[in-house]
């Protein structure tokens, strides 16, 4: 049982990081970057490529994350901003970010070939025993780094001016511009940060999956589902969504059958969504939830005047 929990947490923290990547970009711009999974792939591929040239693997990993962040920012500037500038409420970004995903995935296949290549193993082989369960040091590090990143982000969002500015821009970009915020810069930074989260997930999972241009699909979906479980109110919720998804998937594999991880987590998600349409974390503060639900019956036009 403990083994299931720990393995689930390890893979779930990867899902959670990608999910947070989705959530951070969404949080500021109300855009779901469908190339988020491909940013994970960019992180893995670039790190592997640099490491192959003989550079220190730790430096390669950092450069991989930086590359994912840079591609994230470019995605915003090239594919998202022009679309939002035309109509802030249109869904046209869906097409343009999917276009970016196609370009990244197949571009990577063109450059590095469509097959799996090696990835530097940073903490090879060693494992630790917790209770009756075994966990590789790589997995342990994955959990710690993911939780650390999630906590750091949440602190940053709440405590710094830039974090609050992100909230303001999400709420009303025109107003945020009026108070002098550089909305383009903040949004591009959010996309870069979202890319860094995906890149981080990539270099953490890289030693297990090796580098492969099609990694983005698998982890993109998982991250997207993590976002949906957590809800979009707070990016950190996507981390919880990812952890839950990971544990449920592991549990389904162990307790039902090896195919059950394909469907079991989603059935749970459906049940959760039916019960709590605003995501699982809306349970955390029931009174606030109740208030919001009652309040939402009144439209903005019907707000107390």
């Amino acid at each position: 049982m403990l083994q299931v929990l720990l393995s689930g947490l390890a893979i779930g923290s990867i899902y959670g990081l990608v999910g947070m990547g989705f959530a951070i970009a969404f949080y500021v711009t109300r855009v779901i970057n469908f190339a988020e999974g491909q940013l994970l792939m960019v992180g893995v591929m670039v790190a592997a490529w640099i490491a192959r040239t003989g550079v220190n693997p730790w430096l390669a990993v950092v450069l991989g994350i930086a590359a994912a962040a840079a591609v994230g920012a470019v995605t915003y500037l090239v594919a998202v901003r022009p679309v939002l500038a035309f109509d802030r409420f249109s869904f046209a970004w869906l097409v343009s970010t999917l276009g970016v995903a196609l370009i990244l995935e197949n571009g990577a296949a063109l450059i590095w070939g469509p097959t799996s290549r090696s990835f530097p193993s940073l903490l090879a082989g060693t494992s630790v025993h917790v209770g009756g369960a075994t966990l590789t040091v790589q997995e342990l590090m994955t959990i710690c780094v993911a939780l650390g990143a999630a906590a750091a982000f949440e602190l940053y969002r709440r405590r710094t001016l830039l974090g609050k500015l992100g909230m303001a821009i999400a709420h009303d970009p025109e107003m945020a511009t009026a108070i002098g915020a550089n909305t383009v810069m903040v949004a591009a930074s959010a996309f870069a940060l979202a890319g860094a989260f995906a890149g981080l997930a990539g270099v953490l999972i890289g030693p297990i999956t090796y580098s492969n241009p099609y990694l983005g699909d698998t982890y993109g979906i998982a991250g997207f589902v993590a976002l949906m479980i957590g809800g979009t109110a707070r990016p950190v919720a996507a981390m919880f969504g990812g952890l839950l998804l990971g544990v449920l998937g592991e549990a389904a594999n162990k307790l039902i059958n090896t195919q059950a991880s394909d469907w079991f987590p989603f059935v749970v998600v459906v049940v959760i969504l039916l019960a709590l349409p605003e995501g699982l974390l809306s349970l955390v503060n029931p009174s606030r939830r109740l208030l919001r639900r009652r309040g939402s019956r009144a439209s903005p036009a019907g707000a107390p005047g």
């Binding site: 999917l98 370009i103 059935v267 208030l291 009144a298 107390p304 005047g305």
Partner: protein, 615 residues
């Protein structure tokens, strides 16, 4: 304004397009197997894109469930044919109704909370369906099932070519015609209102939730039909219906042009034919494909049809020179409103009810002991009594946050009081919804003009007339073909023109609300609220932001309404208008009634003078 074809040309153009389509179908039905395969898949995805655009474009419901609904149709057809040996043309209606019903259930579940969570629930629906299709035995697992073969034409029709091509192109045509019919019907502005200005549609008496769910059911039905068609393409396997397919359908819609009839079909044709026709290195091809997505959408956010419209508009401008422009707004001179003039207008020719002596027993609105709080918050309204006598203009004033709009929401049925009673025309209605209030003759407008900005003033007024067109939702599916619809349409246009000329905005009828000045938007709202002949009219800050000339104009409209027996509640911030306009006034402060009674008496009330008028 979008360049419009003269009405008389439209049937001719329609039949011309139909003829060209038939020629294309004939050509495709005699084409090579490769062409036929391509046309079949493009037509099926065309149907899916049309059905998705129906909900995404017209109702703002970005469904990711269409691949799942599509899968249901395809699997049901294949399984019923292979295992039960049903006739394919018995399967078709079963498939349409069945998938439509699934759509209704899915819609009813997921539309409780709309927006992103709708997308999420429908996404999970597709995901779970494809996972089950992959894992279950009777669906053939990952390998899938071999689909049925479409029956050939009988000998006397053999000249027409391959039957399945005709079938799929006719199916696509039917789906498109349904969308065209809805678009040309008076339901279309109502749908856009539900999408963009939900409170407005609800206040007009439209059952917004039911319309949304019904539209989603119809869309699901078409997707089920596409699934039936798709079964004839050869193999039915889970990978053809993954959630990415749902996203792809959405891509087709947006790429072609969302909320356009033809756009989604163009998008579907492009997305299905491009990869098959471009024969280069597959990776380069995909990169090019992605670059096209980005390029098209970034340069033309409106998609292919957006581009076509842009070009058409430019050509029209080149040819017509200065085309029909919007009428010039008659801005009132800046200055101070002469309240005496307003008062004279408002009370002209009408016996002042306040002088009529004694309380009339009949009230248009009677609220007793209203208590209301948002959630667990403080009491926004605390034991409020509010009554409006029939045939009067009743002012409701109070500072920001005093609870005026909340009280109006309670009266119009958007909110329900925690305690207290609300009677409208003598009927107890505090537990009833907006539609029941509409049936009891209550109309309202909103602060800051809640309207559909991309539609003309005329179309917005049509939304207000929703309850005046019987069985609109059902008839809209075949609107242009129904003689009764032609008759109703004509009557509707007359009512719209009457309403607009009543408020004095006839010149602006064909102008998009987005392009009209604020005063015209306010008048359009008023026209939409008056158009169906309400007995009680609630106006939430109808004078906000109006120029002095416009205030006088509004006052004359209120006077005309009052003369025709309508009881009016006017919410206003600015006391000077209210005392000039209204027969009676209620002053609200911090959720309690400070004073209520004839305007002159309230004005003399010391507390009101002190607290509110600052005198």
């Amino acid at each position: 304004m979008r360049p419009r074809l003269p009405r008389a040309w439209r049937p001719a153009l329609f039949f011309l397009a139909l003829g060209a389509y038939a020629v294309f179908a004939y050509w495709a039905a005699h084409g090579s197997l490769y062409i036929q395969g391509l046309v079949l898949v493009a037509a099926v995805f065309g149907m899916l894109a049309v059905s998705l655009d129906m909900v995404a474009g017209m109702a703002g419901l970005y469904s990711l469930g269409h691949a799942g609904l599509f899968a249901l149709g395809a699997y049901a057809t294949t399984l019923l044919y292979n295992d039960r040996h049903w006739n394919l043309f018995v399967i078709l209606p079963v498939c349409l109704v069945g998938v439509g019903a699934v759509g209704l259930v899915l819609g009813a579940i997921s539309l409780r909370v709309s927006g992103l969570y709708f997308a999420i629930t429908t996404f999970v629906f597709t995901l779970v369906l494809t996972v089950f299709a992959s894992d279950l035995k009777f669906t053939g697992g990952y390998g899938g099932l071999i689909g049925p073969i479409f029956p050939e034409f009988p000998t006397w029709l053999q000249w027409a070519g391959q039957s399945v091509i005709w079938a799929c192109l006719v199916a696509l045509l039917l789906a498109t015609l349904i969308v065209l019919a809805i678009r040309s019907s008076p339901l279309y502005p109502v749908l856009l209102a539900i999408r963009d200005a939900e409170p407005f549609a609800a206040a007009a008496g439209a059952p917004t939730a039911a319309v949304r769910i019904g539209l989603f059911g119809l869309s699901a039905l078409i997707a089920g039909g596409a699934g039936w068609m798709f079964a004839f393409q050869g193999i039915v396997s889970p990978s053809q219906f993954s959630w990415q397919v749902s996203v792809n359908i959405l891509v087709m819609v947006i790429l072609g042009g969302i909320n356009t009839t033809i756009g989604p079909i163009l998008g579907a044709a492009f997305v299905t034919i491009f990869p098959a026709q471009v024969n280069i290195n597959p990776f380069w091809q995909e990169v090019l494909f992605g670059a096209l997505f980005v390029g098209v959408i970034v340069v033309f956010p409106g998609g292919f049809i957006g581009l076509v419209r842009l070009v058409a508009r430019q050509i029209a401008r080149r040819i017509g020179g200065a085309a029909a422009t919007a009428p010039v707004a008659e801005d009132g001179q800046p200055g101070i409103v002469d309240t005496a003039v307003v008062a004279a207008i408002a009370h002209a020719g009408v016996v002042d009810v306040a002088d009529n002596g004694g309380l009339s027993a009949t009230h248009a609105i009677e609220c007793r002991g209203i208590v209301f709080r948002y959630g667990n918050g403080p009491r926004v309204l605390n034991d409020v009594d509010f009554s409006v006598r029939k045939g009067t203009i009743h002012g409701l004033i109070g500072p920001n946050g005093s609870g005026k709009s909340t009280l109006v929401d309670l009266i119009s049925g958007r909110l329900h009081p925690d305690a207290g009673t609300i009677e409208i025309d003598g009927a107890r209605l505090e537990r009833e919804g907006v539609r029941t209030r509409v049936r009891h003759g209550v109309a309202r407008t909103f602060q800051s003009a809640v309207l559909v900005h991309e539609l003309s003033a005329q179309q917005n007024v049509q939304v207000g007339l929703y309850t005046r067109v019987p069985r609109l939702a059902g008839r809209s599916l075949a609107w242009p073909a129904l003689p009764s619809a032609w008759r109703d349409g004509r009557r509707l246009r007359e009512s719209v023109d009457d309403a607009l000329s009543f408020v004095g905005a006839s010149d602006w009828g064909r102008v998009r609300v987005a392009d009209a000045p604020h005063g015209i938007a306010q008048l359009t709202q008023l026209a939409a609220a008056c158009a169906w002949g309400p007995r009680t009219l609630i106006l939430d800050e109808p004078l906000a932001g109006l120029a002095p000339g416009e205030v006088e104009h509004a006052a004359s409209i209120f006077a005309k309404l009052k003369a025709s027996g309508v009881s009016i509640v006017v919410i206003e911030h600015q006391p000077r208008f209210v005392f000039a306009l209204c027969d009676e006034v209620t002053v609200l402060a911090a959720g309690e009634v400070v004073a209520s009674g004839p305007a002159a008496a309230v004005r003399r009330n010391d507390q009101v003078r002190e607290v509110y008028l600052g005198q």
